[in-house]
């Protein structure tokens, strides 16, 4: 297998087992140069193990890892052109900020005399100039995070690995750091591989996202790609597309698939994935914000009679929980754009119609 020129990290058929547990299961991924790449998934999905495999803290049970074309599968961490920002920063408590940042410089081909200037430069980059002589325990969470960042970036790695770097920060600071990290990455042009369990964070920051589950990569794509076109039920649910419908294939023509809902309603949806057979059972999802709750069915929409079960008012939107005749639950987000806020007034127990544009149906790949 040859390395494409713009490839940064290549993970080829990598498996990592801990005893009987398979943490990473035959994962293949390619991260491109200068890309902000997120590994997204719930805890225990193998995303952190994958990051640690790239960093060299774990040795794969099988497979190959290449960084900028060279095989690093068995290289120890200190011989890899990557640096890591640890989840809890892992700053050296016995060293000052400046000493922490300078820690790795002596292993670089760089004259001692140039160290101080590089440290100053790195601290300015993360807006921590003037904090050189502080100790880590005298810094706030956000400042520690910046020191960890400076300590890694000063070594000018080809790839920066970040293990849930924002998880320990409070929400406001987290948002601020998201913007800062993103602009830092853009200005430095370094590849960032970022582990997170927070879907909003992944969507907001990444160029591409790999959604992981049970040690496998379920889907890789742009934020809009995984958000709008989830391929599996797991990806759909993890990204909030919780409305899963079951249907049966009736006809296929011109890139459209005509499906029949259990109540007999027919709808034509965009055909994606493998060719489907007639009468094949399929499942599709519709995102909650693409569903609407109507008192009377709209002619241009697919309609499903439902009963309103619950209502959660979020201010800008209202979340409606409804149930169809077969007992399946669906969630609808309606934007409160009207002058009086909430538009339709339904109450729990009242009948309504779930309406949506069939183009918003996304067919799922059955795993």
């Amino acid at each position: 297998m040859s390395t494409p020129p713009d490839s940064s990290v290549e993970i080829i058929q990598v498996t990592k087992r801990f005893g009987t547990v398979t943490a990473v299961d035959e994962v293949s991924l390619e991260v491109r140069r200068g890309e902000f790449f997120a590994l997204l998934g719930p805890s225990g999905c193998g995303k952190t193990t994958l990051l640690r495999l790239i960093a060299g803290f774990e040795e794969p049970s099988a497979g190959t890892i290449r960084i900028h074309g060279s095989d690093v599968t068995l290289a120890p961490p200190h011989r890899r052109p990557v640096n890591m920002v640890f989840q809890h920063y892992a700053l050296f408590p016995h060293l000052t900020v400046a000493e922490n940042v300078a820690f790795g410089l002596r292993y670089q081909p760089l004259a001692r005399a140039a160290h101080a200037a590089r440290v100053t430069e790195a601290l300015e980059l993360v807006r921590l100039a003037g904090y050189e002589q502080r100790r880590p325990d005298q810094l706030s969470g956000g400042q520690r995070q910046r020191v960890a960042l400076a300590r890694a970036l000063i070594l000018q790695p080809q790839v920066l690995l970040l293990d849930e770097p924002l998880a320990a920060l409070d929400p406001n600071l987290r948002r601020e750091m998201q913007v800062e990290l993103k602009s830092l990455q853009r200005s430095l042009g370094i590849t960032f591989v970022f582990v997170t369990h927070d879907r909003e964070e992944a969507l907001a920051m990444s160029d591409r996202i790999a959604v992981m589950n049970g040690g496998r990569v379920e889907q890789v794509g742009s934020p809009a790609g995984v958000f709008e076109s989830p391929e599996t039920e797991f990806v759909a649910r993890f990204l909030g597309a919780v409305n899963v419908f079951t249907a049966e294939v009736r006809r296929a023509e011109d890139g459209l698939l005509t499906l029949g809902l259990p109540d007999g309603t027919e709808l034509a949806v965009p055909a994606t994935g493998p060719p489907r057979l007639r009468r094949e059972p399929v499942r599709f999802v519709v995102r909650p914000e693409k569903l609407a709750l109507r008192a009377v069915p709209a002619a241009s929409e697919v309609s499903l009679p439902v009963t309103v079960e619950d209502r959660v008012y979020h201010g800008a939107s209202t979340e409606w929980i409804v149930r169809d005749g077969r007992g399946d639950r669906f969630t609808v987000y309606m934007q409160n754009t009207g002058p009086a806020g909430e538009a339709p007034s339904f109450s729990p127990g009242s009948p309504a119609f779930l309406g949506w544009d069939p183009r918003y149906c996304v067919l799922l790949r059955e795993s």
Partner: protein, 297 residues
């Protein structure tokens, strides 16, 4: 009000230990200090002083302390100091890898068993364990039996009643007191710091030198104090395993009380040794405090 009550509770909790230490430790200590200024009686014990004023005025009360600075005793003191330093250094050298293994490398399920093994020797009296070393080290002992049986040696090693034997006994006896504090500080060492060091380019030895050792300094200091001080006053090991020429300060003191029946002189040396130890402890405390303050800056 509440504060006062809390203080009262604190005092009442401390009362028993104050009583025990006061009656059985502090009072004898004061007594010993007083005796160290007295004259030895002809048949042991203390010779009553007839003219206290002239006794104090002539400086005769300092005779025992002055005597302790004679060359022969200074030589013993110097040897004891040297042995204690060597014991401490050897203990540190042997304990660090062991503690490192226990704290960082050992599989979790073996950890408590292995730690238990470090403490197991305490189940047997130190005296008996030192006797056991006699059986190991003597000419027809276990060690020579093995060495000669395996053909490595043709003549037995003359180990027992040498400085080497004393050294072995001392290091053996003090080992747990070094391993345990080292283990405690290494155990607290955040592994991700070692990973961070590796990630930043430090190889194993570099990350050991720049991260592991500095962060285990408190444990090293505690271990050094715990090993050095008892080694300085040891007399059982040197008595049983050392020869006649291997006398240490501990033996000298014990000798003055038990054999020479010169309580005043024995008290004088004992007190001086204690003063030296206290001085070292103070230096240690000052050092640790300064380190602590540095960390706050």
């Amino acid at each position: 009000m509440e504060n006062r009550q809390r203080a009262r509770t604190a005092y009442s909790l401390l009362l028993p230990v104050w009583l025990v230490l006061g009656i059985f430790f502090l009072a004898p200590l004061v007594l010993m200090l007083a005796v160290s200024f007295a004259q030895r009686g002809t048949y042991g014990g203390i010779e009553p002083v007839s003219d206290l004023r002239s006794y104090l005025g002539s400086g005769a009360f300092l005779a025992n302390h002055a005597r302790s600075f004679e060359a022969i005793y200074l030589k013993i003191g110097w040897r004891s100091l040297w042995m204690a330093v060597l014991t401490t250094v050897l203990c540190l050298a042997v304990s660090f890898p062991a503690a490192y293994y226990l704290a960082i490398l050992a599989p979790r399920r073996w950890k408590s068993l292995l730690l238990g093994l470090v403490v197991v020797p305490f189940w047997t009296s130190f005296l008996i364990r030192t006797y056991a070393w006699m059986f190991i080290l003597r000419t027809e002992g276990l060690l020579n039996l093995i060495l000669m049986g395996s053909g490595l040696l043709h003549r037995p090693l003359e180990l027992l009643y040498t400085q080497t034997a004393v050294m072995i006994g001392l290091v053996y006896g003090e080992l747990p007191f070094m391993i345990l504090p080292l283990y405690a500080s290494l155990e607290k060492l955040d592994r991700s710091l070692l990973e961070a060091a590796a990630d930043l380019g430090a190889g194993r030895s570099e990350s050991f030198r720049r991260v592991t050792v500095p962060l285990s300094l408190p444990g090293i200091a505690a271990g050094v104090v715990l090993v050095f001080i008892p080694s300085l006053g040891q007399f059982v090991v040197s008595d049983l395993l050392g020869g006649a020429r291997g006398m240490l300060l501990g033996n000298l003191i014990q000798n003055q009380f038990a054999v020479a029946r010169n309580q005043p002189f024995g008290s004088a040396i004992a007190f001086e040794l204690m003063a030296a130890v206290l001085f070292l402890l103070l230096a240690y405390a000052v050092y640790m405090k300064r380190r602590g303050e540095e960390e706050l800056l």
